[in-house]
Subunit: 228 residues, 2 copies
DNA sequence: TTAATTTGTTAGTCATGCCTAACTTTTTTA
DNA sequence: TAAAAAAGTTAGGCATGACTAACAAATTAA
């Protein structure tokens, strides 16, 4: 699957649906993805997703039985991965060369990922000397769509006494990203779990000099590598 | 008009129409632009332009009387100039940093110019150290939309014996641009008019070692500064 | 200055992609 | 296991922006 002619005639919408499905299926925790779940993720009505899924099925990017769960074909997955590749390369460019901050890159990359030009993205990658991670710590798929996914350990899955290193954050929410930088967390920060409170699942963490209490929801969006 | 909030909620289509109108009105030779002319330029039906013009009139970007000629308001012109600015900055980036050739830049820039982010384009400009001309020799408007248009002298307007320097070419056609580079012409080439043939308006020109015959149509797309 | 031609307008259609409301199937749970 | 809840589907509508066909106005030419 090295060079497939660039006959990508998908609309922006079609691309958005395929990418969303990929993120729920492959990157998210859900083993099965349903119509309503996809609708909620994309913030559209279930009727809209149903319609689009029908279309993507005839185009052979999606498979599913009536009333059944959704899945991507190899083709569909390939398109989604290429979008993620474009998204992350653009984020890297904005962050490293154009003075964008952590929380500013996502929205503009959402637009840029739909630009259709194989050459553009491959040259951009070369220009940046083949970065492997985007500004949020996520791996960048290569030109063949190979995707070296690092198993994502959520900060919320650790226990008291554990020590870990921040390797990535979810980039879906600007407010979350602002919050992360405000309290002083960054990629590679070493974090110690001081306490996990049973009552509301909030977590007391220490990093550098700082001690903070974070919510379960916050910790679900922070990915780490366990050190101890 | 220095900073105007970025409340540009125009669709890609609306932007395309405004830009096209600007190019016909300000950059083209036509003093008056009509509906059918715009339709032909955009390769859509006159009914489509009529419809869109109606819409742009209610939005106060275009003015015209029924059955009358089209004109842009200050607002409409401002939007068009910003699109041209984005187009030319992207072309410059593709050409100077991403190994795109003369004839490859246009199509991708047509997509990139619709990306909505003031910061993106201003940072891109800063990153490239404020270039003043795009790869085809056209002036790049600044962030305030100031547009230092150089009077365009068509190569076809010169006479036998004249000597001129190539300062810009029209970037609308890939085939034309390929043709230009194939025969060896480039920005700054010094060109001497050897003969203008009355019969078919073809022109015999000399540049460097080369002597070529070019058609009137070709010469209409080449802009020069007269030297002698 | 009338007729022919060009230009502009209107009406009605179509595809895309969104919506709500109503309905059906599946899953959950009491 | 039957009722309730959740999930999925269908029908019908709307906005955008294209189209064709038919018609009206303005311009050009005979």
């Amino acid at each position: 699957m090295t060079n497939k002619l660039n006959s990508n005639n998908l609309t922006k919408s079609e691309e958005d649906y395929l990418k969303a499905l990929f993120q729920l299926l492959v990157e998210g925790k859900s083993a099965k993805v349903g119509n309503n779940q996809l609708a909620e993720y994309l913030k559209v009505s279930p009727a809209s997703t149903n319609n689009m899924i029908k279309k993507l099925k005839t185009k052979q990017y999606v498979v599913s039985e009536k009333y059944g769960k959704l899945d991507l074909t190899k083709e569909g997955e390939y398109i989604a991965v290429r979008l993620i590749r474009k998204h992350r390369l653009w984020e890297t460019f904005l962050y490293n060369y154009l003075n964008f901050t952590w929380d500013e890159v996502h929205d503009v990359a959402e637009q840029l990922e739909h630009i259709k030009s194989q050459k553009l993205i491959n040259e951009l990658e070369r220009f940046m000397e083949f970065p492997t991670k985007d500004p949020h710590g996520e791996m960048i798929p290569n030109a063949d769509g190979e995707y070296l996914a690092i198993p994502k350990v959520m900060l919320s899955s650790l226990s008291e006494g554990d020590i870990c290193r921040l390797i990535a954050v979810d980039d879906g929410s600007v407010n979350f990203l602002k919050y992360v930088s405000e309290i002083g967390l960054a990629l590679s920060s070493e974090i110690k779990i001081l306490e996990v409170r049973e009552f509301d699942k909030s977590i007391r963490i220490q990093f550098g000099e700082a001690i903070e209490t974070i919510t379960r929801k916050f910790a679900d969006n922070v990915f780490v590598k366990k050190v101890v």
